[in-house]
C-alpha cells in the first residue's frame, strides 16, 4: 500500500509536537513490509531519515523550465532525483508563471510558521496538485490543518480517499475564541475527509461537536513515544534527597495553563520550603508569569531557565521529581510520556488527551490548584508514591509504541479504502 502524506514538520527540525508525531506515525507505518510512504514537506532540511520518500515541496516545479539533466542534478538535494523533477514537471496542470517562482520553476518556502502562513498553505496546496498527479498511491493522509487544503486538493485530483489527522483544533489553541479563517480551513478539510483520525477521544468529541462531523468517520488515534536512545537513558538522575524539583515544560501560553502551575507552587511553598519550581520554555505569557511569581513572593524558589532543546529537555526531565502539565486543553500532550520515560512521575490535567491512555499518572482538573498542590506535595513527600509512579509509569509508557499505532492506522486505511469504493 502506498500513502501520500502531507506534513508541515519533520525531525530533525522540530517546532512542536507535530514533528514528533509525524515521525512516529511514518516510522510506525514503515515497520510494515508492504507500506510505502511519500512524505511531502514544505522545506526539508536534507537531514531527514531515509526510511520514507521525502518530497520537498520547494523542489517541485509548477512552471516549466527546460533545464538539462546535469543542471537539475546539481541543483536539487540528494533526497530527490532528477527523474522525480522531470516526472513532476510533466504533470504541471496550469499556468502558474504569474507566481513568484525561481529559476527551477519552484516556489520557495520559509518553513516553520512565518507571518505569511496563509500564503504558504495556499502554495503548498497548489504544489500538492502536481505531486498528486505525478505519483501513484492508494490513500492520502494529511497532518494538521496546514496541510488539509493540500489533502483536499490531492483528493479531488486523484479521486483517492483522504484521511486527515487532527493533532489539534483551533478550539484547543484559542480557549474557545476561534479564528474563523482557521476554522473554515479545518472544517473544509474535515468535510472532505473520508476518515478523521484524532489524537484523543477529547479531540474526537471536539471534532464531532464543534465541526459537526459524522461520528462514524471520526476515530481516536492516540500518539505514542519512541524509546529513549541509550545516551539519553544514561543521563544521570541527580540526587534530590534534600531538595525536590517540580517542573513545567512547554510553551508558556494560555493553552498550557502556566498560571495554574504558579498558583499551585505558591500553595505548596506556603507550607514547605524544600521544593523548587522550574518553568522551562518560552511563550507569550512568560513575562506575565515572571510578574505573577514576583507578586506571590516566591521568586526565590521559582525559576525560569528559558527555552530548552534537544538533550536539554531530557536533562530537565531527569533533574525533576515531578513533571506537571496543567494544560487547559491539550489534544494529546506527548511531554508527560517523555517525562515518564525519564522516570519522572507526572501530574496532568484531566483536560489532556494523553490521560486517556495513561493510568500511572495523577490527574487533576487544570483549575483545581488545591488538588494539584496536594499531588505535588505528596509525590515530593512520600517516597513510595514517587517510586510506584516512577516504576509503573515506565513500564506503562514502554508499552505505548508507534509500531502499534502504525498497525492501527493501517487497519483504518484498509477500512477506509474498502468503504470508499463500496
Amino acid at each position: 500500500m502506498k500513502v501520500l502524506m502531507f506534513g508541515w514538520e519533520f525531525p530533525p527540525k522540530i517546532y512542536g509536537g507535530l514533528a514528533v508525531a509525524s515521525y512516529g506515525i511514518t516510522k510506525g507505518l514503515s515497520l510494515q513490509n508492504d507500506m510505502e510512504t511519500i512524505f511531502c514537506l514544505p522545506k526539508p532540511c536534507g537531514e531527514e531519515e531515509r526510511f520514507l520518500k521525502i518530497v520537498g515541496m520547494n523542489q517541485v516545479p509548477i512552471v516549466y523550465r527546460g533545464h538539462d539533466y546535469n543542471y537539475v542534478k546539481s541543483r536539487i538535494p540528494d533526497y530527490m532525483t532528477p527523474e522525480d523533477y522531470y516526472n513532476y514537471r510533466d504533470h504541471i496542470y496550469a499556468d502558474f508563471s504569474y507566481m513568484n517562482v525561481n529559476d527551477m520553476g519552484c516556489m520557495e518556502f520559509a518553513g516553520g510558521y512565518p507571518g505569511n502562513l496563509h500564503d504558504e498553505i495556499n502554495n503548498f496546496s497548489i504544489i500538492a496538485g502536481v505531486v498528486a498527479r505525478a505519483e501513484q498511491f492508494d490513500i492520502i493522509h494529511a497532518h494538521d490543518w496546514l496541510t488539509y487544503p493540500a489533502g483536499v486538493h490531492a483528493k479531488l485530483v486523484s479521486g483517492k480517499p483522504l484521511c486527515i489527522h487532527v493533532h489539534a483544533t483551533d478550539f484547543d489553541r484559542s480557549r474557545g475564541k476561534v479564528n474563523p479563517t482557521v476554522y473554515s480551513i479545518e472544517k473544509n478539510g474535515m468535510d472532505h475527509a473520508d476518515c478523521i483520525m484524532c489524537v484523543s477521544e477529547l479531540t474526537r468529541r471536539t471534532v464531532i461537536n464543534e465541526y459537526h462531523q459524522d461520528p462514524s468517520k471520526v476515530f481516536a488515534m492516540h500518539n505514542a513515544v519512541y524509546p529513549l536512545s541509550q545516551d539519553l537513558q544514561d543521563l544521570p538522575r541527580p540526587d534530590h534527597s534534600k531538595e525536590k524539583v517540580v517542573t513545567f515544560l512547554g510553551r508558556i501560553t494560555m493553552q498550557k495553563g502556566p498560571e495554574y502551575f504558579v498558583e499551585a507552587a505558591n500553595m505548596v511553598l506556603q507550607r514547605t520550603r524544600n521544593i523548587r519550581f522550574c518553568m522551562a520554555g518560552s511563550g507569550d505569557m512568560l513575562d506575565a508569569m515572571i510578574n505573577l511569581v514576583a507578586e506571590r513572593g516566591i521568586a526565590d524558589r521559582f525559576h525560569f531557565p528559558g527555552f530548552m532543546r534537544g538533550k536539554q529537555v531530557y536533562e530537565c526531565y531527569k533533574d525533576s521529581d515531578v513533571f506537571v502539565m496543567p494544560s487547559v486543553s491539550e489534544p494529546f500532550g506527548i511531554a508527560p510520556l517523555e517525562a515518564m520515560q525519564c522516570g519522572t512521575p507526572s501530574i496532568i490535567s484531566k483536560q489532556s488527551g494523553c490521560g486517556e491512555i495513561l493510568t500511572n499518572v495523577i490527574k487533576t482538573d487544570y483549575w483545581d490548584i488545591h488538588a494539584m498542590a496536594d499531588a505535588i506535595y505528596a509525590i515530593c513527600t512520600y517516597p513510595s508514591l514517587f517510586k510506584y509512579l516512577q516504576e509503573e509509569g515506565l513500564k506503562e509508557v514502554n508499552e505505548i509504541t508507534w509500531e502499534k499505532v502504525g498497525q492501527r492506522i493501517r487497519r483504518l486505511y484498509d477500512q477506509t479504502i474498502e468503504k470508499y469504493y463500496r
Binding site: 506535595y377 512520600y382 513510595s384
Partner: protein
C-alpha cells in the same frame, strides 16, 4: 449428620473527608459526616434492616433449630449507634430469640494482627467487652478482619482465650483437604478453625442474582441438595458472608431474602441442622492441624493480603501508621484513640489498591489509588504530628519502650507497695484506732486506678507521676499521704517520659 454454620459480618467504615496537605496541623477532624450518614442509612435501609428482620422471622418460625452467627466491627457499630440505632434494636431483638451468637473481631476492622500484637490484642479485647455490654454474651469465637489468618495470628488469638476462629477455606492452604471439617491451629491445638466454603458462600453473596450464571435462578431446595449430596463424612458447612451481600451486592428484588427464609425448612427435610461456631468449636473434634505459614483472607481471587498491602504505597501507609502504634496504645488522649480506630480500618488501604478490578471495589470519594493514598497520608501526617506532640519524636521507640517498661514496672511496684501500705495501715489502725486512720485511707484508694495493665484514660501520666508520690508515703509515715493526691495532677501537666525517673526525686524533697 451435616450441619450448617451460617455467619454474617457487619462492618462499615468511617469515611475520610477530602484533606489537603495545607490542612495538616490546622484541622484535626478527618471525617466526611455527610457521606457517613448517607452511606450507613442507605445500607441500613436497603440491607441490614430487611435482612435482620428476615433473620428474626426465621428464628421465630424455626425455634431453636435455626442458628446464626454475627460479628460487628467496633467502627461499624459506632456508625450504627449514631445514624441507624434501629439496627441495634433489631440485633437486640434477634439476640432475644436466643438463636444468635455474636463473635468477636478487632474493633477497628484493621490490620493490627499483621503489625502489632499488643494493639491487636487490646482492640480485640475492647470489642469483646463491647459485645458483652451490648448483648450480654461473651464471644468465644474470633474472626479477624476479612478473615485474615496465619499460624501466628492463630496463636495470638488462642492466647486471648478464644476457642475457635473463622477463616477462609482457601484452596492454596487446603490443597486436597476439604473445608467441611474442623481443623485446629498448627501452633495451638486448642484453637479450632472453621473454614469458609467459598463456593457455597459465593453462590449466595456473589452469584445469586447473576442471570448469566448457569445455576441461575438458585432455589433453596437445590442449594440444600448440593449440601446434602456432599460426601457423608463432610459434616460442617461454613457459609460466611457480609450481611450487606443481602440487599446491596444482591438486590432485594432478586428475592434473596425469600431464598434465605426457605433454607431452614429445606434443611430440616434433608436432616441438615444449623450450628453456631461455638457449638462446633466446643463439641466438634478437630481432624488435624492446618498449617498456614502465610496470611490468607477472604478477599479477591488470591485470598491473601495483596489488596491492602500489594503495592509500595499501601505498604508505606501501613508502616507509617503502625510505626506509632505503641505510642498510641500508651497514650491516654481519647480523641487520638478514637482517630486511631478509624484510621486503622482496612478499607482505607483497599482504596489504594492498584490491582486490576477487584470484586465490588468502591473507592468512595477517591478517583484513583493515588488520590486515596495522598489523602490518607495527609491525614496520617497530621495524626502522627499529634501523637508526636504527646511523646517527643526524638525518643526512638526502643527508648520509649524501655521507659514505658520502667513505668510499668514501677506501676507494679506501686501496686505492691500500696498493698503493703494498706497492710501497714491496718496494723496501724489496730495499734492506734480512731486517730489518723481516715486520711491515710484516701491515699491507697486514689492509687488504685494507676496500675498500667488496664489502659484507663489518663491513667498513664498519673501513673508516671504517681510512683514517686506513692513511694514517698510508703517510706515515710503514712500520715503524710494526704497532700500527695493533690500533687499528682500537677505532675501530670508535664508528661514527658524522660522526667519520670527524675520526678521520683522531687516529691521526696517536699
Amino acid at each position: 449428620m451435616k450441619t450448617i454454620c451460617l455467619y454474617f459480618e457487619m462492618h462499615q467504615i468511617i469515611h475520610l473527608k477530602r484533606y489537603r496537605f495545607f490542612d495538616i496541623g490546622r484541622d484535626h477532624y478527618y471525617y466526611d459526616d455527610y457521606e457517613n450518614e448517607r452511606s450507613i442509612t442507605d445500607i441500613a435501609d436497603r440491607s441490614y434492616i430487611p435482612a435482620l428482620n428476615t433473620l428474626i422471622d426465621m428464628a421465630r418460625e424455626n425455634g431453636k433449630f435455626f442458628k446464626v452467627a454475627i460479628s460487628l466491627s467496633g467502627v461499624g457499630l459506632e456508625q450504627l449507634e449514631l445514624h441507624a440505632p434501629q439496627v441495634i434494636d433489631l440485633l437486640q431483638e434477634l439476640n432475644g430469640t436466643g438463636c444468635v451468637e455474636f463473635l468477636c473481631e478487632p474493633y477497628s476492622h484493621g490490620l493490627a494482627a499483621l503489625a502489632n500484637e499488643d494493639c491487636f490484642r487490646e482492640e480485640s479485647m475492647r470489642m469483646r467487652d463491647k459485645i458483652k455490654e451490648l448483648f450480654g454474651q461473651t464471644p468465644k469465637v474470633f474472626r479477624n478482619s476479612s478473615l485474615i489468618y496465619s499460624d501466628e495470628i492463630g496463636a495470638q488469638v488462642a492466647a486471648m482465650g478464644f476457642k475457635g476462629m473463622l477463616t477462609e477455606g482457601a484452596k492454596h492452604i487446603l490443597g486436597w483437604k476439604s473445608p467441611h471439617f474442623i481443623y485446629n491451629c498448627a501452633l495451638n491445638p486448642n484453637l479450632k478453625l472453621l473454614l469458609r466454603d467459598y463456593k457455597l458462600s459465593d453462590d449466595i453473596s456473589l452469584r445469586f442474582n447473576n442471570s448469566e450464571w448457569e445455576e441461575y435462578p438458585l432455589f433453596a431446595d437445590t442449594y440444600m441438595n448440593w449440601i446434602a449430596q456432599l460426601p457423608e463424612e463432610e459434616q460442617v458447612i461454613n457459609i460466611f458472608m457480609e450481611l450487606s451481600a443481602l440487599g446491596i451486592f444482591q438486590p432485594l428484588s432478586s428475592n434473596i431474602l425469600e431464598f434465605l427464609r426457605a433454607l431452614p425448612a429445606c434443611a430440616k427435610e434433608r436432616g441438615i441442622t444449623f450450628s453456631t461456631p461455638t457449638e462446633l468449636c466446643t463439641k466438634g473434634k478437630s481432624v488435624g492441624a492446618l498449617e498456614v505459614p502465610y496470611n490468607v483472607s477472604w478477599v479477591d481471587e488470591e485470598r491473601d493480603t495483596s489488596c491492602w498491602l500489594g503495592n509500595c504505597m499501601q505498604r508505606e501507609a501501613f508502616n507509617k501508621l503502625y510505626s506509632i502504634a505503641d505510642r498510641v496504645r500508651i497514650c491516654t488522649d481519647r480523641r487520638i484513640k478514637q482517630d486511631w480506630d478509624y484510621l486503622q480500618a482496612s478499607n482505607n488501604f483497599r482504596f489504594m489498591t492498584t490491582k486490576p478490578a477487584s470484586v465490588g471495589l468502591n473507592r468512595g470519594i477517591y478517583d484513583n489509588p493515588y488520590d486515596a493514598f495522598t489523602n490518607y497520608m495527609n491525614i496520617l501526617g497530621d495524626f502522627i504530628n499529634r501523637v508526636n506532640t504527646l511523646y517527643p519524636a526524638d525518643i526512638d521507640n526502643e527508648e520509649l519502650n524501655s521507659l514505658l517498661t520502667t513505668i510499668k514496672n514501677q506501676g507494679e511496684e506501686i501496686e505492691k507497695k500500696d498493698k503493703e501500705i494498706e497492710k501497714l495501715q491496718r496494723q496501724l489502725e489496730k495499734l492506734k484506732p480512731a486517730e489518723k486512720a481516715t486520711p491515710a485511707k484516701k491515699a491507697p484508694a486514689k492509687a488504685e486506678p494507676k496500675p498500667k495493665a488496664e489502659p484507663k484514660p489518663k491513667a498513664a501520666p498519673a501513673a508516671k507521676a504517681a510512683p514517686a508520690e506513692k513511694k514517698a508515703p510508703a517510706k515515710k509515715a503514712p500520715a503524710k499521704a494526704e497532700p500527695k493526691p493533690k500533687a499528682a495532677p500537677a505532675a501530670k501537666a508535664a508528661p514527658a517520659e524522660k522526667k519520670a525517673p527524675a520526678k521520683k526525686a522531687t516529691p521526696k524533697k517536699k
